[in-house]
Amino acid sequence: MQRRTAFACIVVALLALVLLAGCVAVPPPQQPVAKPSPAGGKIILRVGTGDSGEGLSPHQEIISRFEKANPDVLVQLEAVAGQDYYTRLLTQIAAKRPPDVMQIGDDAVPMFVEKDALHVLDDCLKQPPGLDTGIYLPGLPQPGQWQSKQWLLPKDYSPLGVYYNKKIFDQHKVPYPKDGWTWDDLLATAKALTKDTSGDGKTDLWGIQLPATWTSGFEYWVDAAGGRLISEDGKKFAGFMDSPEVQSALKFYSDLYNVNKVAPPPADLAMFGGGNTEFDNGKAAMRIFGRWPESGYKKNPNIDLGVVGPPAGKQRANVLFWGGFGVASGSENPDAACRFLKFYTGKEGAEVWKDWALPAVKSVAESSGVTKDPIEGVWIDELSHLKPRAYVSSPYWGQSGDPALRKALETMLVMPGSDVAVVLKQAAQEAQTALDEQLAGQK
């Protein structure tokens, strides 16, 4: 009996100890991180990227050029594809072992900056060899800025564009869309190219493939309608997300699906862009999207590709999707990281990038001829029509406005006939509740 009591006591004491240790450990002790053993006295830089597959080739090429020019540094590329990248990055930051140089996407910038995960680049840009952000094409340094300081430099980017398949246009004798076209032109063109060619009562050819519930892509429609989703001070959704302008944008967009039926219904809402393949298969005449699938389209035998800027609604507008590189505030070698960053995002890196994606550095874009190219030039021109994205107004956009807007888009697409005003009013309320909670929690 006594033994049992003793045993129970020990167990309870152990548990209490573990419990205590667990709670005490909650703000983890600032333990000095063991420096990675230098490989032959070299500085080891870790670079985190969310790119994968073929997308890693330019990284590797730039890294090998950098290592040749900087024999004292060894660069390790840590690639984790897609959504998992942020999961891993956050875990690494929480464990105080972030990569020295890390890739961050546009809408995540304010959050990472606000939480002190990044090193401000002011000094880095000044240190020789200095880097002047004026070398970039217009609109490209801005997504890397927060509260008028530069935190990241551009890696790659894309505005929206409208792809069109000249084959389909020629076959049905419809004129190609022209720069400066409008929403009315878009609707007329799409209607002219939506057809039931086999006569079975089902549409076989669609006017335009749309990106379903992609919220950041939808911001273009809001901007073109002259609206905004959140107040400039980042505190209010009511009166913005449910404003007449946003209503008209959502109505026009969802009517393309439900009323005018010129857009193929989404195939997969969980997939980025709606999972449709009609444009790829030559069954949709147009598609509004970023530049990402372009190289595939150029090789696709179903497609004779043309690209034009998105049409103007009340005004001309476009939105930018952007990935940049910054230096982690926890980096042990901020100077080497800065050197690498400038090499990567500067002229040297752009010379490699230009073969894979649009270069961010203006002189490289010009010398490589992309600014004059009938297709690539469109993307570059669109940079002069950019409107600020909603995340710029609040670091909590991703937790408040974005899910609410997504739900509104989903509602309009899966329950055709829903009232735009009602749907957006509810979205604005949900977004406001989530935002208020976040703001209250910060106090």
Partner: protein, 301 residues
């Protein structure tokens, strides 16, 4: 003269051997289960965005649960799924096991075929099913079209998304089948012979021999099934991402979203502890009911 006792008595030596032998598990359990669980419990009382130090906020996270519509939605989705899935797997797995327990030529092939889907990696399996459910030209709707039925839009219809996810799980019955098959093979044939001699038909043998003898296996499979169903994540994460309109927002998916997408790790930790308690209570309940229907051969009364 008092008997001299060696320092290491037999029982002490045995104890030391025991702890040494079990230490890999013990260390693993402490480092990767107990400590993380305790830390998670503590985090449940904090506000933590992963990037800056956690802040103690007391029971706020737990108080918030009641007002969080998505918590209730995720609990509802997960419960409906569990209530539908667990009995289906039990009956389906048992039926398959009974079928492949026959002494027929080539039964090994069937066992392999039925078990095969369980070997597939989760994501690959789900992606395959996404093709089957694709509303435009997917296999299922094409087949339904042949018999004149216009199939629903499955994964993108809020009414059909959860049933679709349930439908794709019948591929997992192979896992339960293997467990039941092992149980069936352990039933001594003389019991069946004796029952047959006493005049029991096939149904009688199943009811009075197979079921009682298999009941411990059923209990085991049932508990595993309840626990794993409450942790459903992959199918919803890959196929629907919780949508459309949160129709497939599973509990664990919601935890993941809160923790890693909305950076509310404290609240996510609180939610995971609530899940732990729910699963614990359910498991205990199933165990308790086991008293009434599980027959242990070793325990005679």
């Amino acid at each position: 003269m008092p008997q001299s006792r060696p320092f290491l008595t037999r029982s002490r030596r045995e104890a030391i051997t025991f702890y040494l032998t079990i230490s890999p598990w013990l260390i693993g359990f402490l480092a990767f289960t107990l400590v993380p669980m305790v830390v998670a419990l503590c985090l449940g009382f904090t506000r933590w965005d992963l990037l800056t130090a956690p802040r103690w906020i007391g029971p706020d996270n737990f108080a918030r649960l009641g007002r969080d519509p998505l918590f209730w939605q995720s609990l509802k989705v997960t419960t409906i799924y569990t209530v539908a899935y667990v009995p289906a797997e039990l009956i389906g797995g048992l039926a398959l096991a009974l079928l492949v327990n026959q002494r027929v030529r080539g039964v090994g092939i069937f066992r392999t075929v039925f078990y095969l889907p369980s070997v597939l990696a989760g994501v690959a399996y789900v992606v395959l099913w996404m093709w089957i459910f694709n509303p435009q030209g997917g296999l299922l709707n094409t087949l339904l079209g042949y018999v004149g039925i216009e199939g629903p839009r499955w994964l993108i219809d809020p009414r059909w998304a959860l049933p679709a996810l349930l439908l794709m799980t019948f591929w997992g019955w192979g896992r339960a089948m293997v467990i039941y098959l092992a149980g069936l093979q352990g039933i001594p044939p003389e019991l069946y012979e004796a029952a047959a001699l006493d005049g029991a038909g096939a149904a009688g043998r199943f009811r009075y021999v197979t079921l009682p003898m298999l009941s411990p296996t059923i209990l085991f499979a049932l508990i595993l099934s309840v626990i794993s169903t409450f942790q459903t994540f992959t199918s919803a994460f890959v196929a629907t991402n919780g949508g459309p309109l949160n129709a497939t927002l599973f509990y664990v998916l919601y935890i993941y979203r809160l923790g890693f997408q909305f950076l509310r790790m404290g609240y996510a930790a609180a939610l995971s502890w609530v899940l732990f308690v729910i699963v614990l209570v359910l498991t205990l309940l199933v165990f308790r009911t086991g008293r009434f229907w599980v027959y242990y051969e070793g325990k005679r009364d």
